[in-house]
């Protein structure tokens, strides 16, 4: 998988904003109940051709069930799913134009690597020569040419993962479903593989739907992410929007780290919101829109990396400032996270990039500090 500059292509790709674009996968009002437990609760979703779509959520949120309904292993209790205009109700898994890469890889233990990859092609009754050629192509794509004759148990975890991938794309399905595809790999390998998957998806022009509980994975790879909780979508957005404009405290908290400062709306004019906050003991000024009315409870959400930490008070300590004492410092290598106990109760976090090798920190434990942020650094949330 060669490195290509995919930036220009990726940047322009946003069919979900184009009202004339026809979605490849249409999920309409789909629910799935297991006994009295509702795993997926009345969801609708459009996924477009060539999109890399991520279903993200904690375990038990229904993301895997939704994917299994796409693959045909579960039948929706209500609603419809169609791919390329064809309703899939009643179509068994072996007749669907999708392929799936399983979390456990699910390689056939009694078949060699090449037999595993050829399996789907044999089922399609392709001519022998074509199968051989396609298997070779796949082996080359995942860099396993020398392992063709091995059995799955003679491979390492990373190699098995690549066999599973090769097997699932060998039939060139319209849609590839990936169920926690990198879950079993170690961190380093996982990060490499993320970019390999991205390149591969671009090169093949396939639509990828990935299920993951790892937000970094979703953020790195996906064009759009659907955050799920309790069987419903909480937000469906591109990664940057999800991170910078979460619709709720749940999303804000689930994606990355965030400080939530409670307050009441004292002013809400076009594009300018002011909260009175007991936590900071002053005013929080923010740019943006909110549905909250005057006097309503709201939260100002600001990411730790957008909060500055200083030993000196700012010019106007009543606006966008919280004071406190450094309670703990988390050194992560590239950044340090300062946990600050606020004077008015509660804690806030500020993370500072370690641009130099620090031996003596200018700010240390028990120091009295001032946390400040810009009005456009956060967002006001009402739920």
């Amino acid at each position: 998988m060669s490195a290509k500059a995919l930036g220009p292509v990726r940047r322009k790709f946003a069919p979900w904003n184009d009202p004339s674009a026809v979605p490849l996968i249409k999920i309409r009002d789909v629910s799935k109940a297991f006994g009295s437990f509702t795993a997926v609760n009345n969801v609708s979703l459009d996924i477009y051709e060539r999109e890399f779509f991520a279903l993200l959520g904690p375990s038990g949120c229904g993301k895997t069930t939704l994917m299994r309904m796409l693959a045909g292993f579960e039948t929706p209790s209500a609603g419809s799913i169609s791919i390329a205009g064809e309703d899939l109700a009643g179509t068994p898994p072996h007749k669907r134009p999708v392929n799936m890469m399983f979390q456990s890889y699910a390689l056939f233990p009694h078949m060699s690597v090449e037999k595993n990859i050829a399996f789907g092609l044999e089922m399609d009754k392709l001519p022998k020569g074509e199968i051989t050629a396609r298997v070779e192509e796949m082996l080359k794509l995942v860099k396993l040419e020398t392992f063709a004759k091995r059995k799955p148990h003679q491979l390492s975890g990373g190699q098995r993962q690549r066999v599973a991938l090769a097997r699932s794309i060998a039939k060139r399905p319209k849609v590839l479903l990936l169920d926690e595809p990198l879950g079993a790999l170690d961190k380093k390998l996982r990060e490499e593989t993320q970019f390999e998957l991205l390149d591969l998806q671009m090169a093949l022009g396939m639509t990828f739907v990935i299920v993951t509980h790892d937000q970094d994975e979703a953020m790195t790879m996906a064009d759009r992410i659907a955050v799920m909780n309790h069987g419903q979508f909480v937000q469906i957005s591109p990664p940057a929007e999800l991170y910078e404009q979460p619709v709720s405290k749940y999303v804000a908290d689930f994606i990355g780290d965030i400080n939530l400062l409670e307050g009441r709306v004292t002013k809400n004019e076009r594009g300018h919101i002011v909260l009175g906050s007991e936590v900071t003991g002053g005013r929080i000024e923010s740019l943006g829109e909110t549905v909250a009315g005057l006097g309503d409870k709201a939260w100002f959400a600001v990411r730790p990396e957008k909060v500055s930490i200083d030993l000196q008070p700012p010019n106007d300590p009543t606006v966008n400032t919280a004071s406190g004492t450094v309670w703990d410092i988390g050194y992560v290598g590239d950044i340090s996270v300062y946990h600050v106990k606020l004077d008015n109760g509660g804690t806030m976090r500020a993370s500072i990039a370690n641009t130099r090798r620090v031996v003596e920190r200018p700010i240390s434990w028990e120091d009295k500090v001032f946390l400040t942020w810009a009005p456009d650094s956060g967002i006001v949330l009402t739920k």
Binding site: R96, M100, S156
Partner: protein, 272 residues
């Protein structure tokens, strides 16, 4: 290697003496040159020779072998089907009851199984003989097969079958191309188990047999009542050999697969 304590040595000795002394004696006396079973008259293999000249014994052995192969094969097919139904098809109505009922024949006294089969054949007005023995052996060995195969299926990763379906394989073909090859060692050892059980059975066969269908255990039992001849010792020793061979093959087959697999997995884990 850990050394065994005195207590363990003693318990092992006593235990294995109880288990194997009678069999060892049987094998030793099958090489007795004298006619008497109790008096040692020097080494000889002549009784083995006379076994192969005794047409009645050979006929009985042939019938036993046919019954064993036939009943084990049918029992393996039926037992595997039952195991799959119980292990797979979710929570159908009465599944727990059926699971328990599969185990029941394992603990059922053979006399009762034999008698109830006899009553059934009488009620159905079936002529008793070779086929009734086969049917009753299928009945009582099937549950052993179901138990063995079911335990293999419980550790079977279902997503492997789902992967096959996902790649366009029909459910029917998935069973033959994916499921069966993977559980084959368990199915083979289940067959071996069914075969040896059928080979050894005296009680059920006695209840369900008819004229012209005498199995080896029945023949031996009736001969012994007229006095034990060293010839009987010889044929019994041969049976011990056959059964031991089958059991050893069955367990080696499962064990070997496991060991090979673990070794390969260790090697792979160290690879980049």
């Amino acid at each position: 290697m850990k050394r065994l304590s005195l207590f363990n040595v003693v318990s092992l000795t006593i235990g294995f003496t109880f288990l194997y002394l009678p069999i060892v004696l049987l094998v030793i006396y099958s090489f007795n040159a004298g006619r008497s079973v109790a008096v040692w008259g020097g080494w000889s293999t002549k009784w083995y020779g006379s076994v192969f000249e005794n047409q009645q014994l050979l006929d009985a052995a042939w019938i036993t072998l046919k019954v064993g192969v036939l009943s084990a094969s049918v029992a393996t097919i039926l037992g595997t089907m039952a195991a799959i139904a119980l292990a797979r098809h979710g929570r159908f109505h009465g599944r727990t009851l059926f699971s328990a009922m599969v185990y029941a024949p394992l603990v059922m006294p053979e006399v009762i199984t034999g008698l109830s089969l006899l009553l059934l054949f009488v009620a159905l007005n079936m002529d008793r003989g070779f086929w009734t023995i086969v049917i009753s052996h299928i009945t009582f060995t099937m549950c052993f097969v179901a138990v063995v195969v079911q335990s293999r299926l419980s550790s079977f990763d279902r997503s492997i079958e789902e992967a096959a379906l996902d790649l366009g394989c029909t459910p029917f073909m998935t069973f033959f191309r994916i499921t069966l090859p993977i559980i084959l060692p368990a199915v083979i050892s289940a067959w071996m188990l069914a075969f040896t059980l059928s080979l050894d059975d005296l009680v059920i066969a006695s209840f369900t047999t008819g004229p012209g269908a005498t199995t080896l255990p029945m023949k031996i039992y009736s001969d012994v009542r007229l006095g034990v001849k060293p010839e009987i010792n010889a044929i019994c020793s041969l049976m011990v050999a056959v059964v031991t061979f089958a059991v050893v093959i069955a367990s080696v087959l499962t064990k070997h697969q496991e060991v090979e697999r673990e070794r390969a997995e260790r090697l792979a884990a160290n690879a980049p």
